[in-house]
Symmetry: D2
Subunit: 438 residues, 4 copies
């Protein structure tokens, strides 16, 4: 990691962005890129497009836009593909999702109309609340993987793309712990052939992508690429992976607030979080088995940041509860309410309440864009396996085998930026005590 010179292949040609799940998130992402290309909208929330990088050494004051300093593909280079279990095209989906207003959809209606989903690979047992009608048939999961691989190759061919990346934008699946089938490439391939119930739909997409050398990021809390067989295959195929579960609303705020509370050595007795949302995601999470997957993803955050074992007096009895409530009046405009019971000097209690009126897809769309561009960058730089430095974007950042997940947004951000600096031969940032002494 000290080698300053890393060879990064240039981002020439078109980049196919393949999206399993053409719902509110995917269409908001696509529409935003199409609008931004025409100067009709701004990709707010995207670090690659709006963010800056300080350059010039640990105390460097020179600053550059990320997209100017780092050899990324541009938004103009992207072509979009998707799979879904419903046949609606991107325009219809976007209109029904009610995330973007007509003034944003009208100018790009034609382009959206042309984005029609390929049939989905779908086994209903993993998402019981949905009843897909636009699904592939296959005699086995192994065959399903082959169909998906053929889809990928065909899409790339049809659009003349030079490279591809894939981002899971589908639903949360029921809770599935890794089992024997997930421990090696051979076991997994055997499981595909025998329709092992431990292999969910999203794992099929991931497997197909890795086989096709398509970098893959997972926006949901599912297993998908978070098991040894996937890591091993990614290593073998030299494919970068990232995951999991886009960090959008409440958890985003949690990973901002918790490090601040800890920095000040304040204690926390309890943290209660509830969410109300009315989109398809909310409907799926109304099924307790699917919620369990999401809950596991959301609960780990505080423990990793606050480290109660190291600070038992401050965080040893922390009671953390997370709820997601399906509440149709809200649609995609989800809302979080958090209550923190903290304590200070001599144990005196205080409370912080945070009410976040957010928009799920608006917060997720720039993450999709950044992940597409950064995974492509990683692949061109020869990186592979879990990209821990992309943990910034995820509720459940997948660690490398030798590390623990890092949830602190500020450390995540510094890791991401220092990794970008390293890739372009800049030295890391290292904030230090000012020069007020001699």
């Amino acid at each position: 990691m000290t080698t300053p010179s890393l060879t990064i292949r240039p981002p020439s040609g078109k980049l196919a962005v393949l999206l399993p799940g053409l719902g509110a998130v995917a269409t908001t992402f696509i529409a935003g890129v199409l609008l931004a290309r025409r100067g009709l909208g701004s990709p707010i929330g995207s670090l690659t497009q709006m963010g800056t990088l300080r350059l010039g050494g640990p105390n460097g004051e020179r600053s550059s836009l990320v997209r100017d300093a780092v050899p990324l593909a541009t938004m103009d280079d992207l072509v979009f593909g998707a799979w879904d279990i419903f046949p609606e095209d991107a325009l219809d989906v976007a209109r029904h999702a009610e995330v973007l207003e007509s003034r944003h959809l009208d100018p790009i209606a034609e382009e959206l109309r042309e984005i029609q989903p390929m049939k989905g690979a779908f086994y209903a047992r993993y998402v019981r609340r949905l009843n897909g009608t636009h699904v592939k048939e296959a005699s086995s999961k192994a065959e399903m993987v082959e169909h998906l691989r053929e889809d990928i190759r065909s899409f790339i061919r049809r659009h003349g793309a030079a490279r591809a990346v894939a981002i899971w934008c589908g639903s949360t699946e029921v809770f599935l712990p890794p089992s024997a089938v997930h421990q090696s490439i051979e076991a997994f391939e055997a499981g595909l052939a025998s329709d092992d119930p431990g292999i969910s739909s999203s794992q099929l997409y991931a497997w197909a992508c890795i086989k096709e050398r398509v970098p893959f990021a997972n926006g949901a809390p599912n297993l998908t690429v978070d098991f040894p067989a996937a890591w091993l295959l990614a290593k073998e195929m030299r494919v970068p992976l990232a995951g999991k579960d886009f960090k959008t609303g409440q958890t985003l705020l949690k990973t901002i607030l918790a490090p601040g509370i800890k920095a000040r050595s304040l204690g926390v007795h309890g943290w209660f979080s509830t969410n109300i949302l009315g989109n398809r995601d909310g409907e799926v999470l109304d099924d307790p088995d699917n919620f369990k997957t999401k809950e596991a993803s959301k609960l780990g955050v505080l423990e990793e940041i606050l480290q109660p074992q190291q600070h038992p007096e401050l965080y040893g009895d922390l009671y953390h509860k997370v709820r997601i409530e399906y509440y149709p009046p809200r649609g995609d405009a989800k809302e979080g309410w958090d209550n923190l019971d903290i304590f200070g000097w001599l144990g005196y209690p205080m409370q912080i309440k945070v009410n976040f009126l957010c928009r799920d897809s608006i917060l997720a769309a720039p993450i999709v864009l950044d992940l597409a561009l950064l995974l492509d960058l990683a692949a061109r730089a020869g990186l592979h396996g879990t990209q821990e430095w992309l943990g910034f974007y995820f509720k459940s950042p997948m660690p490398t085998p030798e590390s623990r997940p890092e949830h602190d947004l500020f450390i995540q951000s510094m890791k991401l930026k220092n990794t970008l600096r390293w890739m372009i031969g800049e030295s890391a940032e290292r904030p230090q005590g000012g020069g007020s002494f001699e």
Copy 2:
């Protein structure tokens, strides 16, 4: 700053902590230390007592309590002195303040009773809402400084203290911009002799302390030690300074949230902050001239963190408004309500509302403790002038002449910890992209 070996004199003997302003903050601080000494309370919120430091290089996983790794004075070493413009002793003040409950004051009542304030140096024009009765008389401000110096020497002598530090815990004074009298030691000394109206009460304490080689921190937004003459005198006397305005409630949260929003490249249209509080601080701030001093301190925060000139599309039209409302039903249990109008992808608006039910003195007390111990450390290490690395504790961190103020709590925290590491010969922390590539 690269020299790893810094000689720090050991913290032997008693450390006098001198507090101009024996109000709710000062007595809560004193009572907490007295209780902690007896094992009857825990100094929650104090980084020096509860916080940890990662050691062993940039990726070091060894961790130690700050107070074990750094040669600080202990809570047992402290003796407390104070000035105030009212004659009540620390016990009466604490009872009236209604911050600590009887169960906390009863066991240490006798010790608190013995802490009786020295008469205050007070010119009513700087704090019009208060009408002090326990005040020094002097024929000029210069003579007032001499009285204060005599108080300091006498206190140290009486208590057999080896060293002293001073922390301003008094009220906010009316807004006073630095004037000609503040530009050089000579001008200031002349101003003292001629009772220049630009020299407020708090500046007299600061000047007396620096003259006596007593490190000084300023917990209020007043000028106090934030002007060239004070810096020059501190350099001459080799005295460390820190300031200004304890970062306790709403601004603490603001410097936690704003960096998080910026890290995600989200935009901000507006940030409205209101506070309700009913203690003496609230009463003083009900005077618009005193509020102006506080407002200036509170408003700078966002601009410095978000840097609108560098990110005009995200923060160029940010409307920031801060209000403090005197509201007697609350006493010391102040409450902040913030509304943030943020925006994301394509400009879609979202809102964050934060309601902080905090306790002013409970949040300030550990800061007083940390500053006392860290300023004493700085003095023993031979540091002097503005200690920019202590900006972590302040709403308006005083920068060094060559730097800009840093408000981001996470950078502040890293600066403070890296400076401590540097002082004990450890290398700085530098989060970097995980080892997921070869």
Copy 3:
């Protein structure tokens, strides 16, 4: 008041609705009526259109829509006129106000375009933040009244209206207590001739309307029609009046919550209310003299409902504070935040916090409609002077000389409905203990 038979003239012909102030409220009202006529929108929030009346005696279970039971003019009967100090027509004003979306303005654009304001009667000293460009000239206030009267007659003539009503939808003026000039018709007429500074612009409109026998309601907290000379003239001319200050957001909630707290004999130590809004109203109220008028209107509410003199133990030390903050990011979508410090059994404290994300003009528009129809009804029924039963719609309900203002929304609602029942010969509602005993 016991006479069951009251003669009400039928609502035949067109009703002119004259609006001093063609801003966000007025255009939202007009647009809503135009849309409702075409079946493109629903007049939600209007008691006359959506509300019901229980009929058939004190325990009557028969229920009817108000508009079916009471002989009101219909929305189809209305024609709209306005004065303003800016020349924009209703369409331009509505577009700039950003209250209604394009999908609501487009279908009625032509009709709105035709509504062009008559020049305003405006003396800048009463609203210093506005700088009107579309104003009448007159040699005296008396002449100004004559110009306005001519406007009224000419409008009625031009549109062939059978009757007219006027609703003040203009800005809040600076605080003006009633003075000698307001005590009699003669004094007021003399003041008009001599340009008495106690006579503000809104009073000129009111005087002109009463002279023309046009019923007048006041949507702002100004004096306008709330002084003896106006009452006397209204009596002489047999014109009904109503006022003052539309009860829309925070005060609406206050008059809902306070009666509930009182019903349960809970105590209140403090009530803090703050508002953020960014429309023209907010800009005007940023001037402390104009805010004073609004503050007086908002502060009276709690005292009248809770009656501290009668319940000193519960409300004797109530601290009530109201703030309005100009905050441009919000436009018309104002927001209130209230904190209530209440107490119960043995004095234990509790808190209620209310955050109301409301829309000023959306809440005011149905009030304009109701007042237009109900004042017209009152006039046709021969009622005149202050219509105390319309207090339901106002922050500062104008009482009759012999009564105190009633702020409790539930009593206001019952008064309004019982008065309607009385007008149509129905007996009043009188909730009583159920028949569970013999």
Copy 4:
């Protein structure tokens, strides 16, 4: 009900207040009465002690304290008895409950110590989360009723009480719909003999009380006295009943806000309510079967107030969701958060958010006092069966057979007060349009 003269027996002698369930609510109630007797606390929240009654006809301005106008027993007359399934005395229970501070418990410690619960009648299947150790044994439910009757008689005898009332202050039981066994006195008596599973513990207390002519109120949402056999027996024994489920925190606010929203003809799309609490009640409600009972009680409120069938355009699609979350950091200091999605003019959406930091037992205690005194009044006045006019105090007001439940707090309050007026020969209040017309 028109007879103005009702004979009310005078409240001479002691009144036994019998409480099944000696927990936080019961001990807070008892402690408050004991303190109030000594002048050491005030029964805030009690309508009978703090409230007033307007007298002197429909427009009467004379006002009197309820306790002065109506012949109620006084707090001095009360003696307290209780049953519980744990053996702790009232002092221990109160200390563990952490509702009242030491300063309130210390002066009455001795009196509380003496209040020791009688053994509880407890069948674990109805409250699975509790594991009672201080329970009666009986060969059948019929025998259990006899044991309870003997307890009642013995308590009255021991304390020389003239009369008794009982208030259920125990836990919420699992959801039990009324079945055949609840339809007649005979069926119920047979069910007692055969240990019918439809008969829960609380029903045994109620049956025993009615048999002993002890008026009974139910503070929980259980069936208890809300079934035909209980009504019939109450009629036969001439015993008044009241219920059910004390209206304390969130539902109290809901029945204040909803009538206000309806009065203004505003629409409601959704109402989401969540509660966090950490007391025994919260623990019991963490069992979904017990929560179901509470949920049914809480959900009915809005429908009854808003009457969607009568106002389909405003409330036809209302989505109402209620959650209760066990959250130990809070203890008895429960907190509610409500989000209301309302809409106005042309359907534009607005939001109201209410955060209620309340205290369960502090709000319930005065209800226990009022119900004890008012049920005793009812009995002395010869009233019996369900006292619908006491619905003011309940989340699920039990209606009379011929009426629907009334949830609107303001109508409930008027009903209660008009019933009191009727009992003392005063005529009902009837707010009407002011005298502003001739």
